[in-house]
Symmetry: D3
Subunit: 320 residues, 6 copies
């Protein structure tokens, strides 16, 4: 008899069905060299939020939620089992210097896209402030980039009143000349969650805005197709930024800024799967989940599905 | 250097974006004289509930939730920023005499509509029992009134078994000759939440009843148009009573009597915005939210949107 | 004056409206003899779950939730008031012998269907492992049976890796020759919640699988009609197994294995009401509700509605 | 083989150790005639509370907590197994007439002490307002009564400002001439929880007041002995009123009015056991537990122990 | 009849007993001029915490908890009713610049002590990082100051690894020459909550350290007397810093860094009351309460008592 | 500049103070060979509990809580920094065969003590049922063993009624001749938590029983000394079994069977540190923590301290 045959490393002694692989099994800790075709990176920053936010914990929880799901899509008969996601780990944040933390994000993103220029990147926030440095770093790899942002909010606040908060990333990208307003598409913008000033700023800068009324009245897939067609004429790569508060509070109870009138999760999942099918879509971030106020990690569970849908689209189209 | 330049009144030291106004900024504490065109009043009564209810806390929480939202509807390009809502405050309830509390509601409502006959009134319950005195007081201003009630329940219980509870307000209005049954329209009545006796009572008294089957199978806006057209032939003013439990438990987890099979919040929000467009609609109450059992004040957040949608409709139609 | 006129048995001193009957008033404790036309039985077993589960508490909570609802369907004008549900009580589980507990379920179900061959049976789990012994016992009454399973998962795991868990009941039924694969219909199977191996097992054994894509794209009533038509050609009785996790996490937050992408509760309620209309549908179980992690017993409330819808269908079709 | 050998009445299918009796097994539902030597009665009233309170649920929860404990005191080698507690059930409260509810308490208590003059009575509140009618009814059996009150608060508020709330019972008893101030002993009165006006009222009326400073500096048993010796010279029977908020918030987290600086539960348990040993102590109430805000029913668990300690004292002294 | 006689400003319609004043009634909003003899100021900063902390909310919650208590100490027969506490409000923090926020604290504290040199100051954190700027500002008023710190931790971490976090305030004060190590007394330092390096740093710098072993084995009042006697020989003013995590987790469940082995709240309350009696004690802060993770605001309730005890001591000794 | 200088392995990007070591840093994952002088092993079994228990999660949570504490005891000036604890990981439990799970525990413990005969072993339950196989395995190393059990309960239930549950481990050890009754010492046994039958069983078998009355009236250290002195005359090794429910519910809110009247955590911590000082004490288990119902992992935090106290005692006495 084999000795100690029932011992497993702490935390690993859970039930294992020999025929079941978990989505989290796709993750491979980065060895410092090989990047593979898909990478994931955690950005545990939420001190930059205007309101109190525990989004710092989201990278860990989203990864953990991947272990609740399998790699197989029965709807499309696609199995992601053999796909490998390089897990680059998390970026260390500075305890008392938020701007330094954001610089670390930009530096790390830049290094990643330079070293692994062909990798598809999935960035786990953190609050939405991280999209400014993340996109800035990502830009180093491409001449022109576009962004498709799912969000209830414009995130175009002025930078004077509070610095680079989670209300400002797209303003910051535009004013830093990283992103042209006309290369930004916002989907899911909601009533009573934005001030007219910033809507006007968006229009003046040529941002394409699809409000929730558009989402309710049209097929989300049509909006996505229209958006990609518009961008692919002008940019080299598209970065998708998914602020989970684009969803209705019934579907994403764990975002700091919840409310009624938002998207159903089915629409977002459809949209992301379709985005995955386009080769030009090269990166995605998922932000604004505060696990400390969520119910049973519902919002992180949906974030894990957003990742899976994105990869399902990539696999379906043959990009991975 | 200005001394004490960073001090703000306790509780006010929160982030302020110079270009953002909150919906709560529309509120002006009543100065005892001027009523303005829109008024809001809190009715913190829930000891009248059949089951244990903390709806007493809803007026405070709904007001607070207004501060989470802006005044701007991007969907309609309507900004309520310049609208002023006179906040009359709350009515003091008696700790041990529930009927006395209800008399105070009626007296206060009567005085309000007499002193400010042109004001649009928004009443924040409390449980549904408050609609009996609130509508009774409101009636003093008009010859004939109609009521459109959103509710999973008829609220037509007999008054002998428990007095004027939250199960009885519309029975009480009918039997007190404040409201004719044929001037009452109930929308969203649900299976397994009413007894046949009271449905029959409703039919005998000419109440128009739209069940959830009607809501699922028809366009809610058609139901609203039909309802207003029916009432405007016969009454001078319409009072809208919104029992938040008309919503499905997924959308209104904080009502005492939750269950499946209810309305989605998008339908209610559409309905209320449309009601706001009719000049004949003069008042609205929002009841049956118990913040002590809600999840992240979701139900109060939706109540705040109900107010905003109502005013958006009023603004759109030019009434405010 | 009658003495002690205000005393009621402990726990019964709640408000009683003389015209209102509760759904729970249909329940009659079994007298050990008469079974009546409808029976209900609790199976408090969840130690058999792969993951930690408190589904052991669901039978009690679902019964309690019946007391929150009435017997009257206003949508169909059907009152179940005079229907009697014999409550057989709960099956005593063994504290440390799970297989023994499952044997007790099989033995009890077999005795019930033998002694009361015409009774409609409603089984309250517990986790899904109980469907193996419950269907096995139920089978004793019929030559050939079919099963319609609502579930996000196949529950066709191999039995070697963990024995008769909640991941295995339908595999176990097929391999025990209780049920032919071609007599099993699975509705609501979801992406990322199953491994390809088990989908293939299902297909090889002739199981009919409707994924969530089917549910989203088709009318659920058509799926039900198609399913019953297929089965009624080949079997004598249909057992319906409702794993509540077929619902989206927004609608069934209290299931152990929650996630996005699931069914809305309205669809499930419609489906079950329609199933009730078929005479061949003779039994139903409701499983996988863990009240210890639910929000305000929402999932048990929906389970109570599933029972009511089932009986509404039966009553509508004249079977009870 | 016995058929249906594993079926038990719903809710009863729990583990039973043949050698273990639960404290709840002492309860016998009242048959309408025989009262026995110990009675228990529930008073589910908390609408009378100044602040929102769910103490209405405490009678049910305290009874349930008795099932978590056994009848055996190993410390004293006393087994209460053979003691029978007649459970008179709960008094039905009026949904909208609080004063009527209090009259029902008084009427019921009076009838109980008249019909069962020798029974020891344990009254489960509810909020502290119930002690006014409960003691008033109890008084009918005796010429002169004394009260020993455990409480952080005097409960001597004026009756004009809010009627018979939970802040007034002892004021009400004194002003109704049911109780002389000098026959009232208050133990555990705390800093910052009372106004000086009422302390002075207490002193003027001859109430004996032991503050928490007394409790901290002296042996609680000495205080009890001193109290009983003082009262037994002057009264025929002592009623003990246990407001659980006499305990520190660490020990009674489920009282509406919690705070630091209170008694440890060991002191209260010692005090009550000793009180039980005196024949002159004839009744006890336990009030001010709100199970809806408690943590794991800790406060009701302690209430169940208060009952057991009281009976342990009675048994030790041979009175039961 | 007076019109609108039952209307009160929103949120004020609560029960009022004419003879009861609340501790919060002592607070007077600052008029920008008069400082009075006692001042309170909120410092909503917790982004500086090493671990995620919601201490930003504590100033608001502690103020609110004052409304749960009265002004009267029955133990000492001292009523603080006539004392006035000038509420200077809260200091506005910068959303993304933590060091700037700390500068604002220092500037504001300095201005306060300069403008109101005789006022007793109570500072409500926030995390413990605020004590560095708060004491620095306070120092401007005095030649030499001493600090008595209640804490489980030394808070003497190096400043290189994370900047001015909540682990560093006393290190920072010493290294900035604001405070001499020998003028710092730490009480309640606990096992397994500090590294030996920092204990040694403390000893090398002459800090007086009383561990929990000292607290358990000695009378806390003796420790306080000894501490003040030591300091009053050398300094002009003593600042008391109360990190609520000095308490055991059973008594202060809402601190970020909880654990067993801590002080009972009675000891802390005794200590603070005694400190209040010394004229040389001129200021106090209360830090490290995170209301978002507390149970029923227990820790903030105790903080409110800390304030009351401090003022009780001051009143007893005749300083206010 | 070093590339990727801010990247850390997922979950590791937390603040690190260069001078602080965490207690969890003592843990070294077992390499399959070297056992070292101290070992820890997780036993995630709680399906064996009489009542629903999530103690299966305790090994993971207790380990995690070790990371909240440092290695340094300031009270004793002992630093455990250089001590290494070999973490053997967790024993894999069988999903549906509880007795098999218990056999795996016994087998693994036996192999551990045979292979590493000199190691001090710390076993993390799980429920108390694990002590039967754990002690049985441990026994293989010694001729005669003694057990000191901290518990509110005897755990001497008969084995017929439910098999080897968490109510039976010490009965099972006695009846299996692994342990003599006279070699078992129970400390903390409480009123109303045991039946007289089992107390008598304990006395008949010579078990030494210290009730909570003994604990309250005596110095816990005297009880420990007395206990060890009694055992060391008769046995070769002592196994300490710490059922955390020996603590009062205020100190251990996360045990399944909570109640008042228990030990304060300071007493338990003192007792365990003293036990650690005896060379004859060779192993310890910690059981009955259900993290799913705890408050902020308080009970697991105390368990982590129990481990640290035990090792502090060992270090103090020079055994490690
Ligand atoms: Ca955003
Ligand atoms: Ca957003
Ligand atoms: Ca209603
Ligand atoms: Ca309703
Ligand atoms: Ca299933
Ligand atoms: Ca399932
Ligand atoms: Ca009281
Ligand atoms: Ca009290
Ligand atoms: Ca500190
Ligand atoms: Ca600290
Ligand atoms: Ca035990
Ligand atoms: Ca125990």
């Amino acid at each position: 008899m084999q000795p100690f045959r029932f011992l497993k490393e702490a935390g690993r002694a859970v039930f294992q069905d020999r025929y079941v692989k978990r989505a989290s099994d796709m993750l491979r800790e980065w060895d410092g060299k090989d990047g593979g075709s898909i990478g994931i990176i955690g950005v545990p920053l939420s001190k930059s939020s205007i309101s109190h936010s525990g989004a710092v914990f989201a990278p860990g929880v989203i990864r953990k939620m991947l272990s609740s799901y399998s790699t197989y899509s029965i709807e499309e008969d696609i199995d992601l089992l053999d796909s490998v996601i390089t897990d680059y780990g998390d970026i260390v944040m500075h305890p008392t210097d938020i701007v330094e933390s954001q610089k670390r994000i930009a530096e790390t993103m830049e290094q990643l896209v330079v070293v692994h220029p062909d990798a598809l990147l999935i960035v786990l926030g953190g609050d939405h402030s991280i999209s400014f440095p993340a996109v800035s770093g990502f830009k180093k790899r491409w001449k022109k980039i576009g962004v498709i942002q799912f969000d209830a909010h414009h995130d175009l606040r002025n930078l004077e009143d509070g610095g680079p908060t989670n209300g400002t990333p797209f303003r910051n990208l535009i004013e830093s000349d990283v992103l042209k307003g006309s290369h930004l598409i916002q989907i899911g913008i909601r009533d009573f969650m934005n001030s007219k000033t910033y809507t006007e700023y968006g229009k003046e800068h040529g941002i394409s805005i699809y409000t929730m009324k558009d989402v309710r009245n049209r097929d989300i897939k049509e909006i996505i197709k229209e958006s990609v067609q518009q961008l692919e004429k002008e940019v080299d790569a598209i970065y998708v930024s998914v602020d989970m508060d684009v969803l209705d509070q019934a579907y994403a109870p764990g975002c700091p800024a919840i409310g009624p009138g938002g998207m159903e999760s089915a629409s977002l999942l459809d949209a992301v799967a379709l985005l995955g099918e386009y080769d030009i879509v090269k990166a995605m971030d998922i932000v604004e989940i505060d696990p400390t106020i969520d119910f049973r990690d519902m919002t992180s569970r949906t974030a894990a599905w957003v990742i899976m849908q994105f990869l399902k689209g990539k696999k379906k189209a043959g990009w991975i």
